[in-house]
């Protein structure tokens, strides 16, 4: 049984003033196995983020259905799903500790539990020395780590990441990728990562879904075959370039199409 199952998922944005309706996504079929690391790549504006929003239950599918742990996702984000966005989603009025504790407190966790969970997350994400700092005092990479930690403490079984390292430099991205792999191994969560970086997708994922230009559909799903204990040094593997090249071959024409439309 799939951990996450999408059947004929389509998203059409209704017409607005001066613009007709926009068919953004689908139909898309996808099955994610429990504990799998799945990456999605595609041209700009192909509906990658829309796909994530629909899986999370942030927006409904116009047609088709999404099931998480065999339950229909409808109306709201189901318990057990965590989302990390590309934009800085830290709460500027809370310090790092309270940012991470936010979801636990909302869920009614006791003070002892909050202290233990947040303490572990601070340690795990290398934020221990910054517990009392405010987001404004942190770098972009550290703020993103706070967001990941805030998601992590809720022990999600499915983590959706929407280009979480998009605003970071290449070196920081590689290091954050390592941290993400470590988090994935230790939590056993299923991860769906949206990214526009082909290297990042190839390095991190068990499978990479390649999407077409809008309306986004999966052109192919490529298995990387990496061992579970991998890290960023996998970029030196002889297969790495071959896999990335295969993804780019699929994407090139779609990206030109997307550019032409823009």
């Amino acid at each position: 049984m799939s951990h996450v199952a999408l059947r004929g998922v389509t998203r059409v944005y209704p017409a607005r003033a001066g613009q007709g309706e926009v068919h953004a996504l689908g139909p898309v079929d996808l099955d994610l196995a429990r504990g799998e690391f799945f990456a999605v790549v595609g041209p700009s504006g192909c509906g990658k983020s829309t796909l994530l929003d629909v899986i999370a239950g942030l927006f409904p599918a116009t047609a088709g259905e999404v099931k998480f742990e065999n339950t229909l996702v409808k109306g709201q984000v189901p318990p057990g799903i965590g989302v990390v966005f590309q934009e800085d989603a830290t709460f500027p009025w809370l310090n790092v500790h309270d940012n991470i504790a936010f979801g636990l407190r909302q869920a009614g966790a006791g003070a002892t539990d909050v202290a233990a969970q947040v303490g572990y997350a601070l340690e795990f994400m290398g934020l221990k020395d910054f517990a009392r700092a405010y987001p404004a005092q942190l770098s972009g990479g550290m703020r993103q780590r706070v967001c990941i930690a805030r998601t992590l403490v809720l022990k999600p079984r499915l983590i959706l990441l929407d280009e979480p390292f998009g605003a970071l430099d290449q070196q920081t991205r590689l290091l954050m990728g390592d941290e993400l792999l470590r988090l994935w191994r230790e939590t056993g969560a299923t991860i769906l990562l949206i990214t526009h970086s082909l290297d990042e997708a190839t390095m991190l994922a068990d499978r990479v879904g390649v999407m077409s230009a809008r309306p986004g559909r999966f052109l192919d799903v490529i298995a990387t075959g990496w061992p579970r204990g991998r890290d960023s040094t996998i970029v030196a593997n002889e297969s790495f370039g071959r896999i990335t090249s295969r993804i780019w071959t699929l994407l090139r024409g779609e990206s030109i199409r997307a550019l032409g439309r823009a």
């Binding site: 942030l58 984000v77 005092q137």
Partner: protein
């Protein structure tokens, strides 16, 4: 104290000394303005005697009620309205022209509605202050990044908890500006209204002293209001700076 602060204090002291000198030399006659030292002396005497304690108490109570009521009503109304885009579109032009309305013109109507007690003064203070809070609350809520609203949904917060735990804290610097204006407008509204028909309060006592050529009392009470309003605003300013310091990039 910073160089700017010292310069500011220097300018203030220079103006006070200038006024003191001009008054003492008779360039400015005492039936027009009394010397600042005489104002301070008169104020100290008044405060020590407790002569106007009831008036000061009444004014501060009415101002406090106007501030509290306008702050609560402004935030509640602003937050509710923010959720109704169509209603907002209808009301926005009215908000823009709100301060073109001379509120004191409604004083007779307010007396008819609320009677001759303190409520008309409070109502004027409230009416002047509330729109500043509404407008600033809306302004702040407009600037809450969409990703934070999405994050609230990921945490499965309902509309009320999203407003209280995410939207309003995020908009706090703007809401705080609204509160600061509410404090200023409440003082203006209440004390201004006391000038018109009230039978007690600081505004009434200033008006009474003016009508009786009692410059010692009139300027002492004006000085009292000035010191009070400046002290309140400076405290709010310090508080606001602390609030903003957390959000400013290092």
């Amino acid at each position: 104290m910073s160089k700017t602060g010292l310069a500011r204090l220097g300018v203030l002291l220079f103006l006070l000394l200038l006024l003191e000198t001009l008054c003492r030399l008779g360039v400015i006659p005492s039936f027009t303005v009394i010397a600042p030292s005489a104002m301070a002396e008169s104020l100290a005497r008044i405060l020590a005697s407790g002569r106007f304690a009831a008036d000061i108490g009444a004014t501060l109570t009415n101002v406090g009620i106007a501030i509290a009521a306008s702050s609560v009503a402004g935030v509640v109304f602003g937050t509710t309205l923010h959720g109704f885009a169509a209603a907002r579109r209808v009301l926005d032009p009215l908000f823009a022209t709100y301060y073109a309305v001379p509120m004191y013109a409604f004083y007779p109507l307010l007396i008819v509605i609320f009677g001759l007690g303190d409520l008309p003064q409070v109502a004027i203070g409230f009416l002047l202050a509330v729109m500043a809070v509404v407008i600033n609350t809306l302004n702040g809520l407009d600037r809450v990044p969409a990703v934070l609203a999405k994050t609230a949904r990921v945490h499965r917060l309902g509309p009320l908890r999203t407003a209280l735990q995410v939207r309003l804290p995020c908009a706090a610097p703007y809401v705080f500006t609204g509160f600061k204006l509410a404090v200023a407008y409440s003082f203006i509204g209440v004390i201004g209204a006391e000038f018109i028909t009230s039978s007690r309060g600081i505004g009434y006592e200033i008006s009474f002293a003016y009508n009786n050529f009692d410059n010692a009392v009139m300027y002492a009470m004006i000085l009292f209001i000035l010191v009070l309003v400046i002290a309140v605003n400076m405290s709010l300013h310090v508080w606001e700076k602390r609030l903003l310091a957390r959000r400013r990039r290092a």
